[in-house]
Symmetry: C2
Subunit: 372 residues, 2 copies
């Protein structure tokens, strides 16, 4: 059932939990630790697939909830699957839609059977079960599908976290029984909020189901970073060493270093692309709001020693002008820079692990970096 899919563990860091690996899939390899740019609606906003590939992305994430509602998974199936529809030939991971649906708040109702919700687009009523979530992802034809889970919010009482965990476990079992698309694999998602005992319980149950990969869900949902790191600290050791670990929704530079240090292999986050569209650039010293008036006559690039297309060809003054004038090239150029920054950072992290200097490089980076 897993076909060509397997995770090759290349090296383990001696001082931290960092790991170097290669995730083999039928559509190509992913060098881990890896960041997955987000292409919510079958496009990494503003970019062509060739540009995303050239930036070094070996896998992207796309959102089941959005594609189910528009243009509809059956249409994408007819188109020959998501890869063909959007012209992206490398691997795609689809989330299960769970997180988006639970984020709808009062628009959704959870039962043991599944989730009823109203579309944020037209208010239409939908009911998604674990089986349905798998069916949609099979129609999309992603390379990695995610089990349908219940993501507890933060803060969350022990009782509520337990209920969410139990549903997640039972739904994971149901997901495991559904036949995925050919060569598609399914990852389980560990829940349990900030409770060590619940995380352990969730991990044990999912490990018993023998998924080919595991995500850590329910983090980056409002809790302080220190708590996220603590949960990772005790959760990743509970997961099988020879399977990939994916921390969902995390993508700022400091969290990427800290996540890798705690044994995470895969990340995704809308932040680099989203803040690009608001005129904010990522740099090695923190963020730079290029819209600010101070850059009006600043004819230097976003970051002097950055070799991305944007920094090689455009000044802060020009970028600011594009944003002030509402020109689409502005979001596009900053998206290129921010993805370049994030994907290059992952490369540096991999090189540091390979060179046996992960902890040193991490300290060096974080010393000059102002988190936000």
């Amino acid at each position: 059932m897993q076909g060509l899919f397997h995770f090759e563990l290349i090296k383990k860091d001696e001082k931290t939990g960092a790991r170097l690996g290669i995730l083999h899939t039928p559509r190509g390899v992913i060098h881990t630790p890896a960041f997955m740019p987000v292409g919510t609606q079958a496009t990494v906003k503003t970019l062509t697939p060739e540009e995303v590939e050239e930036l070094g992305a070996e896998i992207i994430l796309s959102n089941t909830y959005h594609l189910y509602l528009r243009p509809g998974h059956e249409l994408i199936r007819q188109a020959g699957g998501l890869h063909r529809f959007m012209n992206w030939r490398r691997p795609i991971l689809t989330d299960s839609g769970g997180f988006q649906i639970f984020s709808l708040g009062p628009l959704r109702r959870i039962t043991d059977e599944g989730v009823q919700f109203r579309s944020h687009l037209d208010g239409s009523l939908h009911f998604i079960t674990p089986e349905k979530a798998m069916e949609i992802q099979a129609a999309l034809g992603s390379d990695i599908a995610m089990a349908f889970d219940v993501c507890a919010s933060y803060p969350c009482s022990y009782e509520d976290a337990l209920t969410a965990l139990e549903r997640t476990t039972s739904w994971a079992e149901r997901c495991r029984k559904v036949q995925p698309a050919p060569e598609q694999v399914v990852f389980g998602i560990v829940q349990g909020s900030v409770y060590q005992e619940l995380r352990a319980r969730s991990a044990r149950a999912l490990v018993d189901m023998d998924f080919p990969g595991y995500a850590i869900g329910g983090l980056s949902v409002g809790e302080p970073k220190s708590i996220m790191y603590e949960v990772l600290e005790y959760t990743t050791p509970l997961l099988p060493e020879y399977k990939p670990r994916y921390l969902m929704g995390v993508g700022t530079a400091d969290c990427l270093w800290e996540g890798v240090a705690r044994g995470v292999d895969l990340f995704d986050c809308v932040l680099p692309t989203r803040i690009a569209r608001n005129g904010t650039a990522l740099t090695s010293w923190g963020k730079l709001v290029v819209r600010n008036a101070v850059y009006a006559d600043d004819f230097s690039p976003i970051e002097q020693d950055c070799d991305c297309y944007t920094c090689r060809n455009y000044t802060r003054a020009y970028l600011r002008h594009l944003f002030k004038a509402g020109e689409m090239l502005g979001p596009r150029l900053l998206t290129i820079h921010n993805l370049h920054f994030t994907l290059t950072l992952m490369k540096k992290i991999r090189q540091a692990i390979e060179a046996g200097d992960f902890a040193g490089q991490k300290n060096l980076f974080l010393k000059q970096y102002k988190a936000f």
Copy 2:
């Protein structure tokens, strides 16, 4: 003063007024008849300069009025000129700002000295004289600057057309006296509305001033196409054979063929790029509104035998999805297609003139094309 700038007339069509030429400029040659994509705010909307170049554009147009207001011509001068600011290395033609200012309607007041107007951005008061228009264009450092003219609207009485013409003539003289930027040339603009006698008078006066090129202004301002063609018919023969002729603001396929047939060498128009952003594609049979529901499950490209990047890689169904979902890649992919369509059409026109079959190819094209 003209430096390396000169127009080489390669061939004249035997049956029509069509001409094949090469416009030599210090920043490169322009094969005429040519279409100039519009980059109003120092960017051809949604595209990078490399993409515009790859599409075959040898020159672009940028708008003085917009750049004067934002980011300001002094800032662009500081940046090293418009080419460096926006990263476009081939020639740029700047309009004089006249047309945009006159389009402001009640927001502007014309005197013999110049035009007072309020910014459409912040309502601030400005006064532009012919000398000022030249100074702004010199700061921008365009390769071809346009004289500051008075564009009569349509319909326009003979008296009003006469007044506009006389001001245009006197302003052209004032523009001619201003020192342009190094290697920058200035084109005069023929006015006279739809009155043959006035067009003749305007042309004679401007030809006496010996501009290195001439534009035909005041067309495509609401008059029927038949009237535009008639005005061109009697106006282009009044202009020097060995200088380029530029028809301002025209760029639909039928008008391009008809303009070339009447001796026009240069065109510009926002239409291909503007309708792209509204989800409308140009094709050899007319326009295709890709947003329409009929294309929801149409997995063919916009045009089957089009070899543009968009048609080689994306279906109508995907493009429609991008527009319905408000994704920026949609406008970008259609802009690529529409500029490819228009620039390829100009190439076909040049090849037809070269092959001695311009009239035949024109008939063939227009027979299957539904004008809009």
